[in-house]
């Protein structure tokens, strides 16, 4: 025993250090108190060893990257030698030579790991010629800007997209000096199946991937005297601004945020947490209803827009499982534009709704066609926590000097249940606090549901409800969510309620939040911060929120009422994943009479679209119509639930399974051919 313990030590600059369980020398060094620089290393991703910043000298191995070397007993490591410093500096210079160094106007300036390192290493001169070529910047989507000119090829975005989100939107393309990280065919993020979760932005050490800024739009709104500008602040934001203003991570600063927002010029400051309570009212009612009427179950939460987009693009068979409830952000927007505008006696066009969110995908969600009236959005502008911090700094208001203030009524009143929405497990816990009471008809005393708390990516819970077992699953990260859906598809598990959040740890780990080198620790502290707030709230169940009761009493009447349905619910549609041309399937020259497009996207392909084409071709040949039917393979006609889908001269035909090929040919194609020929 003592021998084994003795063996587990290494020497760092001549001093002996014990190690136990660290995966690599870098982790041992950091535990020993060394501040070893890294750009590509992320403790929650696979090791890549590309940036060469973490080099050290190991006796017998020379200068090596400490992130790729597992610890060995008796290792002799030197951290600060002339060779180490030289190798590190040259690597950094080479990275900087290929980097567009417009730091002063870069959005990432001040938060950029590359900039920090250049400063720390004392880089004053770059001896290598800069890259001549300027590559196109993709800013076509509402959430994320991708600027390959600032990319240092650390691959963190590629790994997080693959390993954490299971998406593979980004990958290394081309080779050598021409290597670029990009989506396939250098398509825009809006043309592929990116969910805008933004985790690539959260791990990018430079400004190559950044959150699209909407700060100017907010200042413009605030500066317009004809507008009333109101703001909603999401639950996870209150525990994420602390570090930026030198408070301990996870501290709840909602009182100060409220005070600062008023000084910035917002007419009213409200809480998305109120809308979260509203979501619970509708979602708990929906859950109780689906339990009673046998489905569709499991009910899946729909607060996370990245998750909703994943289902719409990749799992259309689960669309009806998604809760029809809008997310809290959109419930707030709809209610504010309809009821608040009326309450203030102003036109909805003169009310500007701003939200402060921990999320990049919320920017895209606010622009969905479901959430607007004509050109007018329900939520006009979405800024992230990071953007809020920038605005506060820009304004000159010193957050540390302001006194805490309460939010405005009516939509500032909230419960502990709404607050925990920001953490993975929080939505499920809040929903159960209400749903269990409604289903059983008896008040619940012990409302803490600890089984679903914490930042782990999978949690489950079983509880007895009126004599029957109810199973709940809580997942975060899209990889974990996809894994669960695949299991459900195979019939390997059954749940009644599933909560999904796309970001690790839930919204507290959202890509709109400030990051650090140790995002894991930040997530744990922020999550704890939210549960602490909940613990100290006088009201901790959504349905006991007095302003919620008033809203239902005066306007909505009851959950799922006609008005509630109009304002608080929505629908989902299957969506195409990749924008591309159709594939030509007909041979030779044609007179192109009947245009047949068969979907060969994943969902339709798996249901037999390929065999359908085979039979259809034979049928066409048998009738000698090879020259007058043009068959094309297309990628997704956006009705996956009714697939396989085909389009004949612009007319959609569903359920085109191989068995129906002849019938469809006779019914739809043959008459058209005869007509054209006749």
């Amino acid at each position: 025993m003592s021998d084994r313990l003795l063996n587990k030590t290494m020497f760092i600059d001549g001093k002996e250090y014990a190690y136990d369980g660290e995966r690599n020398v870098l982790e041992v060094l950091r535990k020993a108190g060394y501040d070893i620089p890294t750009l590509c290393y992320r403790s929650d991703l696979s090791v890549y060893g590309a940036c060469r910043m973490c080099v050290v000298e190991i006796e017998g191995k020379g200068v090596v990257t400490s992130c790729t070397i597992p610890p060995e007993p008796g290792m002799k490591i030197r951290v600060n030698t002339a060779r180490v410093r030289r190798v590190r500096k040259i690597s950094l210079e080479l990275l900087l030579a290929n980097h567009h160094r417009d730091c002063t106007t870069c959005l990432k300036s001040g938060d950029c790991d590359l900039q920090h390192l250049a400063n720390k290493m004392g880089i004053k001169d770059i001896r290598f010629a800069p890259r001549q070529e300027t590559l196109a910047v993709d800013s076509a989507n509402p959430s994320i800007v991708r600027d390959p000119n600032k990319c240092i090829l650390c691959g963190a975005c590629v790994r997080v997209c693959r390993e954490v989100q299971g998406k593979n939107v980004l990958d290394f393309t081309h080779r050598g000096s021409k290597t670029v990280v990009s989506p396939a065919y250098n398509k825009k993020l809006s043309e592929v199946d990116c969910t805008y979760c933004g985790q690539c932005v959260a791990v990018c050490p430079t400004g190559a991937l950044r959150v699209k800024s909407d700060i100017e739009k907010v200042w413009n709104g605030l500066g317009d005297p004809s507008k009333k500008v109101i703001v909603q602040v999401a639950p996870a934001v209150r525990v994420a601004v602390a570090e930026a203003f030198r408070f301990p991570a996870g501290t709840n600063l909602i009182g100060m945020i409220t005070a600062v927002l008023r000084r910035l010029g917002f007419d009213k400051v409200f809480d998305t947490t109120f809308a979260a309570d509203l979501t619970i009212m509708e979602e708990a009612a929906e859950f109780a209803d689906r339990l009673k009427n046998n489905g569709p179950l499991p009910l899946m939460t729909s607060c996370c827009p990245a998750w909703v987009k994943l289902v719409e693009q990749k799992y259309p068979q689960f669309l009806e499982n998604l809760s029809s409830c809008r997310s809290p952000q959109q419930m707030f927007g709809a209610v504010a534009k309809k009821l608040l505008a009326a309450h203030y006696g102003i036109d909805r066009k003169d009310l500007v709704v701003v939200s402060v969110m921990p999320c990049t995908a919320k920017k895209a969600e606010a622009r969905r066609p479901e959430f607007r009236q004509g050109e007018q959005l329900d939520v006009d502008i979405v800024i992230t926590t990071q953007e809020l911090i920038k605005m506060i700094r820009e304004s000159g208001v010193d957050l540390r000097q302001v006194k805490e203030e309460p939010m405005d009524l009516p939509f500032g009143e909230h419960t502990g249940a709404g607050v925990i929405f920001g953490s993975s497990g929080g939505v499920a816990e809040a929903a159960l606090r209400t749903a269990v009471e409604w289903v059983t008809g008896a008040p619940v005393k012990d409302i803490d549901i600890k089984e679903v708390r914490g930042v782990e990516s999978f949690k489950e819970l079983q509880l007895m409800l009126n004599g029957s077992m109810v199973k709940v699953a809580v997942v975060n990260t899209l990889q974990q969510a996809a894994c669960l859906l695949d299991q459900i598809k195979k019939g390997e598990c059954d749940y009644h309620l599933i909560e999904v959040m796309a970001c690790p740890g839930g919204c507290i780990g959202g890509a709109g939040q400030p990051y650090s080198i140790d995002n894991n620790l930040l997530r744990i502290k922020r999550s704890q911060g939210l549960y602490d707030i909940d613990q100290n709230m006088p009201v901790r169940k959504s349905h006991e929120n007095p302003q919620i009761k008033r809203l239902y009493g005066e306007w909505l009447k009851e959950p799922n009422s006609h008005l509630a349905h109009e304002l608080l619910h929505t629908g989902y549609h299957s969506k195409r994943r990749i924008q591309a041309r159709d594939v030509n399937l007909s041979p030779g020259s044609r007179t192109d009479v009947v245009d047949v497009r068969v979907c060969v996207g994943t969902s339709c392909y798996l249901r037999g679209a390929y065999d359908f084409i085979g039979i259809l071709k034979k049928e066409i040949e048998a009738h000698g119509l090879g020259g007058s039917v043009d068959i094309k393979g297309t990628f997704c006609l956006e009705h996956c639930g009714k697939g396989p889908n085909i389009m004949i001269d612009g007319e959609l035909v569903h359920h085109a399974v191989p068995e129906r090929a002849r019938e469809i040919f006779d019914q739809y194609i043959l008459p058209k051919c005869k007509k054209e020929v006749g």
Partner: protein, 165 residues
């Protein structure tokens, strides 16, 4: 429809056959891409999207492989692929004038490698391993040794005539 689209019949059946022949496994991706390139003379985008569905490999990964290797082309290639060696031995034996002559004859430039009628694609390569025959030109699989600008002009004419007859 342009010449490119008309020139190729993209048949999903053929892609499925290629995948089946090689085995539907991501470790066979390069072999499958080679066969697809052989079939279509390049890797059409729509075909790779379809392949990503059939093989359940992310399109970004397939695209990453396809752009990594010089042997794969994402642009349509001509029926006859002309490769001129511009390695050291061929270069000192004046491959430069041959390159110029071919480009002039076919109306190509360094950026435009394939003729509009999709008959010829012209590329330079770094070494064909036949330095004794310098300067060397290879058309499809056939090797032409000690080429001069006049000779290559005649050779290209032969291919053009062969095509017409």
């Amino acid at each position: 429809m342009n010449a490119v689209e008309q020139g190729f019949q993209r048949d999903l059946e053929r892609i499925n056959q290629i995948v089946e022949k090689n085995g539907n496994d991501r470790t066979h991706l390069i072999a499958i891409l080679q066969d697809i390139q052989h079939e279509f003379r390049f890797l059409p985008e729509e075909v790779l999207i379809y392949l990503s569905t059939v093989m359940n490999i992310p399109l970004s990964s397939i695209y990453g492989v396809a752009t990594f290797y010089g042997q794969f082309s994402l642009e349509p290639k001509g029926k006859f692929e002309i490769k001129v060696c511009d390695g050291t031995a061929c270069h000192v034996r004046k491959s430069g004038v041959i390159i110029e002559a071919i480009r002039k004859k076919l109306g190509l430039t360094a950026g435009k490698k394939t003729t509009d009628d999709l008959k010829f694609t012209f590329e330079t390569v770094s070494c064909l391993g036949a330095c004794g025959l310098a300067p060397v030109v290879v058309i499809n699989e056939k090797v032409y040794p000690q080429v001069t600008p006049e000779k290559i002009s005649q050779i290209i004419d032969q291919y053009k005539n062969e095509e017409e007859s």
